[in-house]
């Protein structure tokens, strides 16, 4: 980043303006009048979006004038100097890595949306939808494991998001042990005995603390058989 080129300034500004334009168009969906409030529901977000556009353009002009006033690169170095990256620990900055990570990060959203499309219904009670959910979940997990092999950092970023995406359907109680093992594995732990006992330790502490001592209604999952497993754990412990 310390050799941030002129092009990247333009790209950054362009991304800002595209996001602003998209969100601005969305405001027409709720551009409703409110009887007791003259400015309605959309003035506030529009004002913020306007300021965003101003700031994004301002940043671009600022960066360009700075760049022309000084030797290119020198000021950028002064501005962007960050101790972290000068140590060179970030091997994971190349375009290829970003694309691969984006692919991984898309998996949770595949899980969220695909079953609905396949089942052709969003009726949460339908057994068909639940069956598709289980199938897609299995496929997504396998694809995740295959991709994770090649991009460990991307996998670390994706695993929690995937966990969260499945949380409502499959429940905390069934997913947590797998999640604990997954995080340890991705961080390079390979000793099976350690992993097993640490997993049981963390899971046990969490269950003891949040289910036995203080009842926090963690999600039990809505899809059978995960629902049955979740409610079984809670019933046994309570």
């Amino acid at each position: 980043m310390s050799t941030k080129s002129a092009a990247s300034h333009y790209v950054e500004a362009a991304i800002w303006l595209i996001v602003v334009a998209f969100l601005f168009l969305q405001t027409f969906n709720f551009n409703q009048e409110i009887e007791i409030y003259r400015y309605g529901a959309s003035s506030w977000p529009r004002a913020i979006l306007l300021l965003m556009a101003v700031a994004a353009i301002g940043q671009l002009i600022f960066n360009r004038t700075r760049a022309s006033r000084y030797e290119m690169g020198e000021i950028a170095k002064a501005m962007d100097e960050s101790p972290e990256e000068s140590e060179g620990t970030n091997a994971n900055t190349g375009l290829k890595w970003y694309l691969h990570t984006a692919l991984l990060l898309a998996l949770p959203f595949v899980y969220i949306n695909l079953p609905k499309l396949l089942a052709g219904t969003n009726d949460v009670g339908s057994p068909e939808l639940n069956r598709y959910k289980l199938i897609v979940a299995a496929i997504v997990v396998v694809v995740f494991m295959l991709l994770a092999w090649r991009n460990r950092v991307g996998a670390v970023l994706t695993l929690p998001v995937l966990f969260a995406a499945m949380l409502q359907d499959l429940g905390f109680y069934a997913l947590a042990p797998a999640f604990i093992l997954g995080v340890m594995f991705l961080m390079g732990e390979r000793r099976a005995g350690w992993m097993g006992s640490v997993m049981l330790g963390i899971y046990g502490i969490l269950l003891l603390l949040f289910v036995v001592i203080l009842y926090v209604g963690l999600p039990t999952g809505y899809v059978r058989p995960f629902y049955d497993f979740g409610t079984w754990v809670v019933t046994v412990l309570q």
């Binding site: 409110i34 007791i36 949460v124 009670g125 009842y215 209604g217 809505y222 019933t235 309570q238």
Partner: protein, 341 residues
């Protein structure tokens, strides 16, 4: 010193006990059996009650009081799961997604009815759900500060507001089409006065605005501002009912004030999935209706001014209340020019 403190503490405790003491009057569900065997060992584990509002508000409190009363009665524990947000929409969505096995119930208020009236894609609490019991029905009032000297009662208030030419203000909730905002619309239309409503989505800042003189009046239900009433900080100047309840006999009602519209009520109740097994639903109906008459629940209702008008409806009564409420809102929304889907 210590003794004095302990003594005063125990006196306070005793006074609390007395005021919340047993209710001797006959209760709506006295005729139901005192105990009922669930079908096939049901319920064999704790029930979950989804509450689409936070634990501290009116819904959170009634959910707690009802859950405790049901547990007292049946020894079945109930875990409350608060899912606030979106004026009750979020909790409703989460409840509709939960398996309909009779182990989860829902608390909801009249907002579910008005939401369905505006958008029939939203669940109809009388059709898509089975009402177990409606356990709180209450009315609204208009409040001013007790020490207010620019006006002292409803008539002088209306006169003063008209003299301000639209600059007078009243604190109200922040949801268009809600019971509160629709009722204010009725009032301004009927009196011909122009008053700026200030929208507050939370209760405490709304009451603080009146106490601190930021607004001239407040729209609220009596149970929510009981402490301010008891402390003599606020006083009601209009009861939005056709007949005054005895506790507010000296406050003018709609008839006294010459306002001709059907008052909208605030009601809170408990529901179960319509697809839940029928026998389990019967047991839940019994448990929740019977629990309404548990002394602890009755004491709670009394402390919240919920005994001033009949607060109880069974399943059929709730369905009737909900259906007529939906019809009422639908007419109002059409008259207001809102798009009814």
């Amino acid at each position: 010193m210590l003794k004095k403190l302990l003594l005063s503490a125990s006196v306070t405790a005793a006074a609390t006990l007395l005021s919340a003491g047993p209710v001797f009057a006959a209760c709506a569900t006295d005729s139901l059996p005192g105990s009922l065997e669930g079908p096939g060992g049901y319920p064999e584990r704790a029930l979950t009650m989804i509450v689409p509002y936070g634990p501290a508000g009116g819904s959170g409190q009634v959910a707690q009081a009802m859950a405790e009363a049901v547990t007292e009665l049946t020894k079945v524990s109930i875990n409350r799961d608060h899912k606030p947000g979106g004026s009750g929409t979020v909790g409703m969505t989460a409840y509709m997604a939960a398996p309909a096995d009779g182990y989860s119930v829902l608390e909801h208020i009249d907002d579910a009815s008005s939401a369905h009236a505006l958008d029939s894609g939203r669940p109809n609490p009388a059709d898509d759900l089975i009402p177990l019991v409606t356990s709180q029905i209450t009315f609204s009032q208009i409040y001013i500060r007790t020490e207010e000297d620019r006006f002292t009662d409803w008539d002088s208030f209306v006169e003063w507001v008209k003299a301000q030419g639209g600059k007078a203000s009243i604190a109200n909730v922040s949801k268009e089409g809600s019971m509160e905002r629709v009722t204010m619309r009725f009032i301004t239309d009927a009196t011909g006065m122009e008053i700026q409503q200030i929208s507050f989505d939370k209760g405490a800042p709304r009451y603080g605005a009146l106490a601190g003189g930021q607004v001239d009046a407040l729209f609220e239900q009596p149970g929510d501002v009981r402490n301010f009433l008891d402390a003599g900080k606020f006083k009601p100047i209009l009861t939005i009912l056709k007949e005054s309840p005895s506790a507010f006999a000296d406050v003018p009602n709609l008839t006294d004030a010459g306002l001709d519209f059907e008052p909208l009520l605030r009601f809170r109740g408990f529901y179960v999935h319509k697809d839940a097994p029928a026998e389990r639903v019967e047991w839940l109906k019994w448990a929740f209706q019977k629990a309404y008459c548990e002394p602890s629940y009755q004491a709670y209702n009394e402390s919240k001014f919920m005994t001033l008008i009949d607060s109880y409806r069974d399943t059929a009564g709730s369905q009737e209340l909900i259906t007529s409420t939906i019809g009422q809102y639908r007419d109002v929304y059409k008259a207001m020019g809102l798009e009814v889907k």
